[in-house]
Symmetry: C2
Subunit: 434 residues, 2 copies
């Protein structure tokens, strides 16, 4: 008769230990982003379906969870709402909606779940958290440099010593493809092929580009340029827009050098990034032992205009919480003092003893900042101690008839086994934070 109890496919329950690890990472990210002057923003999980469609490309569209209309329309099978697919499109909508209320330069962070109906796989879930920073309103390379600085500081504070950040520029890619003789109509499809370079290798990409209509010589020339920065620079310098984009990348690289991103960022011509809305610098952060990235982003000066009608520059970076957690778990990078116990202290209850005494004692200890559990029902001492030990609780306060008669309580340290009598009036001072 019992019902299915597993979470839905690709979704996860987070038990207390999981939540504490997630909260640790989120707290570091929030702290760094706040210190860079980013402000918090939250948007609804559900958006009108038209807000999301046409923003993520054909593949993305298929992965959007759509919500059935309600009431009399339910049987029509029509949908009107969709679950948030990323945090960038909602931000663009918010900026367009609240333009008058927001500052000229709006810097926000946003840490919320997104949903994609992807095939679940190791480290890939259908509900996952994105941790985004975006700066709206300026085309200055200071924006990208500060973003690289903030992201590097986050990763450094979390304990990553071996991360690298790839930097490229959509206009550089355009200049390269033009310079290699690929007609503009084939650029988007070429980038889809190039994006798979790490996965399918050079020959695979060449064949894929040819299948997409690129001639072999042009394809080879692009792939050669990915392996030879001098060749890359020569090709893009001659193509329209190439010099300006190269200068922009150089400025970002130079500025980033004087920040915590120093030594981490490298121009990587083959970096393409999947999303179609990027217009300028694109970036991706990685660690050696994780295929794919821990985060990425770039400049998208056209997206907000799709909502506001007015072109507003913007640049953002998104860290993937799940991917960071995967690596931190494998490398055992969580601080040893990350709370694992349910409580610091447990107060016992005994048959025939006044329970209100125990509740008062617990609340006195809580007032000192301690996390205090009360065993919920009178029971044998042995069972209560065993329970406390199984919960990772260090101190058990025992106040039975004997102790009460003497105005004392017994404090037992479950780690050392040590046990001592303490005056009832003194127990807050003895157990409380020193």
């Amino acid at each position: 008769m019992a019902q299915q109890t597993r979470p839905a496919r690709g979704m996860r329950d987070f038990l207390p230990e999981d939540v504490r690890r997630r909260e640790h990472v989120i707290a570091v990210i929030e702290d760094v982003y706040r210190r860079y002057g980013f402000e918090p923003l939250e948007t609804p999980a559900l958006e009108n379906i038209e807000t999301l469609t046409g923003k993520y490309g054909e593949e993305g569209n298929k992965l959007i969870f759509k919500v059935l209309r309600r009431g009399e329309y339910e049987s029509s099978g029509e949908t009107d709402l969709a679950l948030r697919y990323d945090l960038t499109v909602p931000l663009a909508r918010v900026v367009a909606e609240h333009r008058g209320k927001l500052p000229k330069f709006f810097k926000r962070y946003q840490i919320q779940p997104v949903w994609r109906a992807d095939r679940p796989a190791r480290g890939r879930f259908r509900e996952f958290y994105q941790c985004d920073v975006d700066a709206i309103g300026s085309t200055s390379p200071v924006v990208e440099a500060e973003m690289l600085s903030a992201v590097s500081e986050v990763l450094g504070r979390l304990g990553f010593t071996d991360f690298t950040i790839q930097l490229n520029h959509r206009a550089l890619l355009t200049a390269l493809l033009n310079g290699a003789g690929i007609e503009p109509a084939l650029h988007a499809t070429s980038l889809v092929a190039i994006d798979k370079l790490d996965k399918i290798g050079r020959d695979g990409v060449r064949d894929d580009m040819m299948a997409r209509g690129v001639n072999q010589a042009s394809g080879e020339r692009v792939l050669d340029a990915f392996e030879d920065l001098d060749l890359f620079d020569r090709i893009v310098a001659q193509a329209e827009g190439g010099a300006a984009a190269r200068q922009n990348v150089a400025a970002i690289l130079e500025l980033a050098e004087s920040t915590p991103a120093g030594g981490r960022v490298k121009l990587t011509p083959r970096l393409a990034r999947g999303l179609s809305y990027y217009t300028g610098a694109i970036m991706e952060a990685a660690v050696p032992d994780l295929a794919g990235s821990v985060g990425g982003g770039g400049r998208y000066d056209g997206l907000i205009g799709m909502f506001s009608g007015e072109r507003i520059p913007a640049c953002g970076f998104s860290l993937g919480l799940e991917r960071i957690l995967v690596v931190m778990t494998e490398r055992n990078m969580f601080p040893p003092d990350l709370a694992t116990a349910a409580a610091d202290v447990m107060v016992t209850l005994f048959e025939g003893e006044p329970i209100e005494n125990a509740l008062k004692l617990a609340n006195e200890l809580r007032a000192t900042g301690l996390r205090v559990d009360v065993y919920p029902e009178p029971d044998k001492l042995g069972k209560q101690l065993k329970y406390a030990a199984s919960r990772g609780v260090t101190f058990v306060v025992i106040a039975g008839a004997d102790e009460r008669a003497k105005g004392e309580v017994t404090v037992k340290n479950l780690t050392t086994g040590e046990q001592k009598s303490v005056a009832r009036s003194d127990v807050g001072r003895v157990l409380g934070p020193s």
Copy 2:
């Protein structure tokens, strides 16, 4: 050409000021619940549709957001997933699923959004946060007393001095209805009528009960008992189960008296609560100037068994974040030091000056814990100062050519207008937290 930019109906965007207020309330709730030994839990936004159906009654069922199947099934109009409607049913599923991993007494808190396709109204949204605590595994009145204590401490810490908590018991209501001569088959429908007492008044409820098949004398007797605690006690004492339930309520009331809930909790015979899964004590917290409650809960010893097949006692309380925020906003209850500025310090940029100096300075100040913004592009000083003032920033650090030549920076306090020269090497010490 521009697209719709409003959030979906009944949903809201939270700008930085909104998020900070929400975070303030959530931080207080989390701190108190942790100190009571509750541990954090999170569940997915999407549940398999069968997990939710049949748990919330017919009205509830209609308000569930359902997600269309994907891929080849999309055109079928079928749904397989649904958005979380409350945090209690997911908890029951999790407890059944992870029973072996969870402690005998599992105390969890969970603060997450839920979604209901209700008609939006003032203070009623389609996405809203619930802040739940639940204790699983014990039928002891200590559970209810600790819950009342924790909720009272939350409300007290938030600054509510005038809240009250109504307490009742489903078995008392059953005893009352039996004692008044209402047959068991009419109990559920009678409770639906009684639940509207505050809204439609005594005569309204009497008429409604009669319309539901209750004879007038029985209806009047129930309503009399709501106004006369002695009569209530006499009726329930004679009905089956009444004495035990009355004793349970008395035990809860007595224990709660010795906690922060002391003086707040009152037996309220007319309290019915809507949800069908309650089996024991039911509770509701209210403040005078808000129609309806700021939170409520109760004991539901049967719900987990719907998933696990094994009866497991449980009791919970849910605070409504939105309702708390409505009252706190109206009463201006937020702490005056709640951060409103985007940053503590802003560093200026000037044409021709090395930007990396500004970035280095900003990062030095951030290392002291300050929140530091960098004006993103070289501009006139006046414009930069005006921008900083509009963002609520107190200190602007100006490092132009003159200052650089002297190895100094100028620190301007925008609140006082005061401006002073500080040695470059000293600025962290001067501005940093003392």
